[in-house]
Symmetry: C2
Amino acid sequence: MARPPRSASVDSRRRLFEAAAAEFAARGYAGANVDRIARAARLNKAMIYYHFKSKAALYREILRDMFTAVGTRVADVAAASCTPEDKVRAFVEAIAAEAEARPHFPPIWLREIAEGGGHLDAATLNYARAVVATLGRIIEEGCRAGRFKPAQPMLVHGGIIAPLMFFLATARVRRKMQRAGAAGVADIPPKVVVAHIQRLTLAVLEGRIA
Amino acid sequence: MARPPRSASVDSRRRLFEAAAAEFAARGYAGANVDRIARAARLNKAMIYYHFKSKAALYREILRDMFTAVGTRVADVAAASCTPEDKVRAFVEAIAAEAEARPHFPPIWLREIAEGGGHLDAATLNYARAVVATLGRIIEEGCRAGRFKPAQPMLVHGGIIAPLMFFLATARVRRKMQRAGAAGVADIPPKVVVAHIQRLTLAVLEGRIA
DNA sequence: ACTAATTAAATATCTAGTTAGTTAATAACG
DNA sequence: CGTTATTAACTAACTAGATATTTAATTAGT
């Protein structure tokens, strides 16, 4: 009883997960098609219902993966022993790294924000809240150390994550526009965006933008 | 021939447009339901096909309205006779004003970014590009006046519009969270967000964040 | 009288989820 | 070791419900 899963099955599950992530990112939850997901994973549609319970449960699993990844990663950042400035830089870097590791992350994040997080279950929503709370603690630490001025964690967080997701999500389109000859819509690599947002955020926290 | 439309018809059209905007904002293009749009407008579903040609054409019209509104508004800003600093402030204010006048604007904008602008027709896409180009001209003007340091218009624009749309789109959810007792996720009024982004953008352009 | 505005009902297509059955890996047993 | 029983992994075909769009007929303004 309770045999371990065969390696082929683990692989199938992974393929479904990835095909689904790409489909949800490209078309949104409602626009995503389970037949297309199965075809992309080179499996029968029924396998989606075998490995996951439903389209909704599959989607929730993708969301959970995204938000728990960021949540645990930034928790590590806050627990590290370095200056508050370095923690802020690492906070930005951590979110960027997890998002870059998942091409579906930025589009899905943008859609969930548009929808008011209607697909997020309570546990996943808590992970999202925890990210803001973690940033809040880093800010407090900086304030106690006399390096930061007090700031609304949510305001600071929005200033980080929104432009980050925007630039990551539009990277492909902007490259295409660039090739089509659009000058101002230049191809800005993620590294540049991350560095920009790091400097911006520190300027805000150190009270240098008033 | 070519009688003017009856006023009742103009009103029906407007009601359909607004119901559709709300529906598309809440559920995305694929998730939107024409029956629900018609019901919300207190009209028969066939009226959608009478006033607009299809669900897709109706959606395109909503997008066109959004992007042309912002496009013309920021063009006025750039043409005004005031300091580059004031133009930057007015640029941010203009986008915020047009977005606040249309509750559907932020969610639809976020979804279109997620989708890579797949629903935007060529003309509307040009309006979107024109907005970035306009910001580029304001930056240039500031550089010539010795007040701004050179900066990538796209990078600056993303730093404006992304957090703006994020905060406007999440306003309702954040108010709900606030009432539910979430402390750090405070209710931040649009005015505060706009002022924050104005100061942030000027700090970037004046080279005060390096 | 003419036609813009509107409706109810039909159509045609799509799609999430189910079912009933097949294949193949593996564990247990002789 | 080889055979068989068990069940995980997988498929093809079906079902039931939804949904965009059309059609044909009706109402009401000018």
